[in-house]
């Protein structure tokens, strides 16, 4: 009777709301399907956007390097042969002033190596890199390890092969020390220390990754007709100032005919990437928002229609001591509880669907590690359903507040 602090009003209002929902299952169910769908859609959109960004970032890292990667290239336009060792020396000299944490030389696509396969010696595409390459491109291995410093000293030089090539040599586990044999200038036995995964089901390229230095030693010098690039990983905060200075340093004193290019290659430098991801999220988010709004409107509508039938019930409750505040809270909570449950159902369904194999395969063909469902998406969905419930609950609750007890119970 006195306004003593007690749990009972809150517990009671929640119990009322729940029991009201339970009694009017069908009515509630119908109005909630829309909410569940909308929240599910919203969650899916946020999750897709998140996954998309994750996957795109990962793939971009693999090709263009992590944020921020600067690539230095060199070429001659006077027809004279390119001296790559001189370029290395030039870079080492400049790099002394900068203390780069990771750099790697890269020859990709221009070199093939003759490998002894069951069907005979075959020229296979090869990639020549330094050990830092893996970290700079967020490379993950299917098996074994990537190159480390000192690998060049090993008796049987290490190679990392692609999964397609690994299949060709019988998928011998790396722990059992599989080897490949090469002929020609590169003649010898090479130890397979790691396997790179396929980029996708379409990726059937049998490729051999070799350390740049291993290749160079076997041939005596780097052929002058291949293009050697050098990637440098720098903190994104200083990349804009550092680029031009580095370019100037690299070009200082270069003999005529030698062109040195310095570019930023990571996806962070490409404005379009971030924009398109943002636009995708904005558009889909707006659509989900509209669906959610429609769901809320239909919920308000159904609650208001139901309110006509409930006026007598509210009158009866008031005559048994329910305060108007309590009635307001119960009706309000009813919507919030309902949309929260509906939203949770929608979210769970979306999580289940998006974890099913064929959906993953459909959305992100050839993805290696299925990324976990973004937690932020589930939270966004849940928050949205609570907000929708609050908005949809406010109007019927205000109507309930205005019910005149005497009129409600008079017959």
């Amino acid at each position: 009777m006195t306004a003593r602090l007690s749990l009972a009003p809150a517990a009671g209002a929640l119990a009322d709301a729940w029991s009201e929902l339970r009694v009017h299952k069908l009515r509630v169910l119908l109005s909630l399907i829309g909410i569940a769908v909308a929240v599910g859609a919203l969650t899916a959109v946020v999750a897709l956007g998140e996954l998309q960004r994750q996957v795109m970032a990962e793939q971009s890292d693999r090709y263009g390097g992590r944020i921020a990667t600067i690539m230095v290239g060199a070429s001659r336009d006077d027809g004279a042969p390119m001296d790559w060792d001189a370029m290395d020396a030039r870079f080492e000299r400049v790099a002394e002033r900068y203390a780069f944490s990771r750099t790697s030389r890269i020859v990709d696509g221009a070199v093939t190596v003759p490998v002894q396969l069951p069907e005979g010696v075959t020229q296979l595409p090869s990639r020549l890199v330094d050990p830092d390459y893996a970290a700079m491109h967020r490379l993950t291995l299917l098996e074994g390890r990537w190159f480390v410093e000192g690998d060049t000293e090993l008796l049987a030089p290490p190679v990392v092969i692609s999964e397609a090539l690994w299949d060709m040599i019988g998928r011998v586990p790396v722990a059992q020390h599989p080897t490949i044999t090469m002929t020609g200038d590169l003649a010898g036995t090479y130890q397979v220390v790691g396997v790179t995964p396929r980029d996708g089901p379409w990726d059937t390229t049998p490729r051999v990754d070799l350390l740049y230095d291993t290749y160079r030693e076997r041939l005596g010098a780097m052929p002058s007709d291949v293009a050697v690039m050098r990637e440098i990983w720098v903190p994104p905060t200083i990349v804009d100032e550092l680029g031009p200075v580095l370019a100037m340093d690299m070009r200082a004193g270069a003999e005529p005919g030698l062109t040195i290019s310095v570019n930023r290659t990571d996806w962070g430098a490409q404005a379009g990437f971030a924009d398109s991801a943002l636009i995708f999220q904005l558009v889909t988010g707006a659509i989900a928002g509209i669906v959610l709004l429609l769901g809320a409107l239909s919920l308000i509508n159904i609650q208001l229609v139901a309110m006509r039938q409930r006026i007598r019930e509210i009158g009866v409750r008031r005559s048994f001591g329910a305060t108007s505040g309590r009635i307001f809270t119960s009706v309000f909570l009813e919507s919030v509880v309902a949309t929260t449950v509906a939203g949770a159902v929608g979210i769970v369904l979306v999580v289940l669907v998006m974890r099913s194999d064929w959906v993953i395969e459909l959305m992100f063909p050839g993805i290696q590690d299925v990324p976990p469902f973004p937690f932020s998406a589930a939270i966004t969905g849940l928050v949205a359903s609570v907000i929708v419930g609050a908005i949809a609950g406010l109007i019927p609750a205000l109507v309930a507040l205005r019910v005149k007890v005497i009129d409600a119970i008079r017959f």
């Binding site: 009694v23 048994f320 001591g321 329910a322 505040g325 017959f411």
Partner: protein
Amino acid sequence: MTLVSLRGVAKQVLLPDDSRLDILHAVDLDVDAGDHVSIVGRSGSGKTTLLNILGLLDSPSAGEVQFGDESTLTMRAGRLDRMRGANVGFVFQQFNLLAGRTALENVAMPLSYASGALFWKRDALAAAMLDRVGLSHRLSSLPDRLSGGEQQRVAIARALVRSPRLILADEPTGALDVETGASVMSLLDEVASESGAALVTITHDLHVAARARRHYRLDAGVLQPVDLDHAFAASAHAERSVVVAEPGAPR
């Protein structure tokens, strides 16, 4: 000890055509703890309005309502609601059970606006009360599966479950046949007396009115004590003619 007292209570309402309708005129009424009062009167004489004022559901246009020792004039709405919940139990003519809720849920409903043990033990208390009105076997029945008499017994259990000091019954037998009405009335009398609650019954039926200790008639908004023996004698002829005229009166 006086539980509720009305002093010069009048009620007027403004009709849509801006004319004023006087429903109650200067009503004085004291209901003591444990009292049994009956009020008879023609349809439209203001009985329900009076009952609503007694039960703090409505406020008078003039005059004063004292509940316990307190004047309700300056009481705030929430305070009135809580006071009503703790002290008043209603029994309606149309039962007014919550549709779709079981008998147990209906009876537990008033306790959900209580606090402490009453709130937390509401189901057990409701079950005990239903047992008291002889419905322990219908705890989980929905109202539309109960007969009229059973529904009114559930309503009586609901009115009494919070042990109110005042029970207000507005034509509690109005929707029941004579026999069922009589048994429901004796149940209501019994449980009210048991719990020491005051009972105010509004009725058309003189036999129902006769169960009370004090009898009033409301005539065009004026409340007067009435001698029931006279009323019986005066209506004896009319009553008999009603029974003759409508042998199959609707139940």
